[in-house]
Amino acid sequence: MAYAYLFKYIIIGDTGVGKSCLLLQFTDKRFQPVHDLTIGVEFGARMITIDGKQIKLQIWDTAGQESFRSITRSYYRGAAGALLVYDITRRDTFNHLTTWLEDARQHSNSNMVIMLIGNKSDLESRREVKKEEGEAFAREHGLIFMETSAKTASNVEEAFINTAKEIYEKIQEGVFDINNEANGIKIGPQHAATNATHAGSLFLRLAAQTGPLAHSLTLSSCPAET
């Protein structure tokens, strides 16, 4: 299927936080409680629509194990978006976020959009990390934030799609040089000739109206969040 853009995503975070499950839920709409450990990196792809444009997400689901860290870093290059995942029922996975973030910033391009995800929101009774803590961390480091459940699929779509929206917005603003493949964005076959002239899009206008608070607005208006 033809697409206007292709975005490369990476999913990073401690082992067992549900990275592969998030991917599976997003690409296959199913949940698999028992999962093999990811070796190196696995892949998934899905088409989404933003602003009437088909966008293909090419997702690199990296291994979370510490011993794979030096290898998975190699995969960061050329990612336009990152989902940084922790487990709300395990504080240590939240504590490691700074390290992950440093790693990600160091090994990928500076414009990469990072979405912080507190996964396993269905396990409210075992929660160790408050939602406010996640929000605070995200605010402090300039990330987007969401709590998700790969099991119930709550917010999973939104997490992937909102990241794409942010990337798309950055393209429209000219922050991303779409001709530089190192940014993790590729122009699709159908779109190549026209993309440069179509900067003033509906989405951009909407984004301009709502301003920088667009994301928090999106977040709080999500029914699953309230």
Binding site: I39, G40, S70, Y75, I187, G188, A192, A193, T194
Partner: protein
Amino acid sequence: MSDKDDIETPVVTEAAPILEDENCEPAKNSGSLDLSAKPESKSEPVVSTRKRPEFKHSSDLETSEVLPVQASEAAGKEAVSKDVPQTGWGYWGSWGKSLLSSASATVATVGQGISNVIERAETSLGIPSPSDISTEVQYAAGETNAKESENSSPVSGPFGVFSTISTAVQSTGKSVISGGLDALEFIGKKTMDVIAEGDPGFKRTKGLMNRTSTLSQVLREVKEKEELWTSNEVTIETDKKTHYGLLFDEFQGLSHLEALEMLSRESEIKVKSILNSLSGEELETLKLELEQLKEAFSLAEFCEEEEEETKGDEDFTKEITELFSQLHVSSKPEKLARARNTAYEWISTSLAKPLEKKEEGEKQLEAEEAEQISNSSIEDIHAFAIRSLAELTACSIELFHKIAALVLHGRKQEVSAIERSRALSQMTVLLCKELSSLSKEFTTCLTTAGASNSASYIQDAFQLLLPVLEISLIENKTELPEA
């Protein structure tokens, strides 16, 4: 200039009458189903399981200056619809820098081999698509121009394919030849011709490993070209199902290749910096060891075991598992074996009937007879064949990628890098052979191009593992300093 012309011109002009003949009487070429039959003329025959021939720097490669002229001539001749939008081609130059390098030009040709060539052969048969062709001219011309400034490369490849096919299209005109059998016979023959005559990739693929471009990048571009086709030219339903490049990507072959390339590149950089930091005896010792590793990392077995016959189902699984265990990495080639066995199961159940029928049809060789064969079943086989090859190749690349990750991941090694090299060489040979024999099983509708391309991909993935093993050798030395 003139001697270069002599070399280049036949592709454009002399090929035309031959192709026209074939187009007029495709049904009479009963022998054309024997896909191993070599076109008597010109180029080297394509033997799928062989190690790919070496890149030769002969004068016939230095033809770039001639091409712009031909491109414009051809464009004038062939471009039926000149108003085809430039979409899709404009970006080749921009983020496909790789395409401007000579290495990628040859790679692109290889990549086009299975799907594009077959599809263009199909197109030339049934539904000629002028925009495809004119787009191709634009591509060829654009690439040539870009190339000219670099003054470096053989573009005769893509262009040769184009001109051969477009001539066929021209002569076929808009007539639609019905009957799946005819089509398949013709595709087989046509593809062989096209590959042998117009695809220098088979002679020049050495350029693949030139790191100025990456294989996955080029393959991705080829695939995107296919995506463009499918979005613009969806005339036949089966079209979508038979694009090798798209399917290869669907099975995540491209992604694994890209990931493997990343690991390979990083290992290569590390090896280089380590070599730079060493001196004297230490450096010499290491160089020697790396040299030995490289030697073990060869595909010499290809020629020696050429005659070995196809093995049974269990043998492949057993063999690949055994080789895998020699690598001492904590992973198993189950996915690959499963994909492979599925393909063979499908063949044994579904392919038997159409095959018999087809042989009959061959003997009788009448259009009526051909028409009795269900069109869809042949298309199914075709689609399944392409799909199986794409899947198996993707699984193989995935396997190599996982091996790279696990080799780099393993802290201590129970097995030397050289031993791993040997096992990997054997595995590469085994996989290429397996793909070749699978494609032989599909001879009704597949050309050897399939196996040949798949083999190219696998062998390239194999080469990407060398730096990985080099770094693992070095790291192992530093961790266990007994030597």
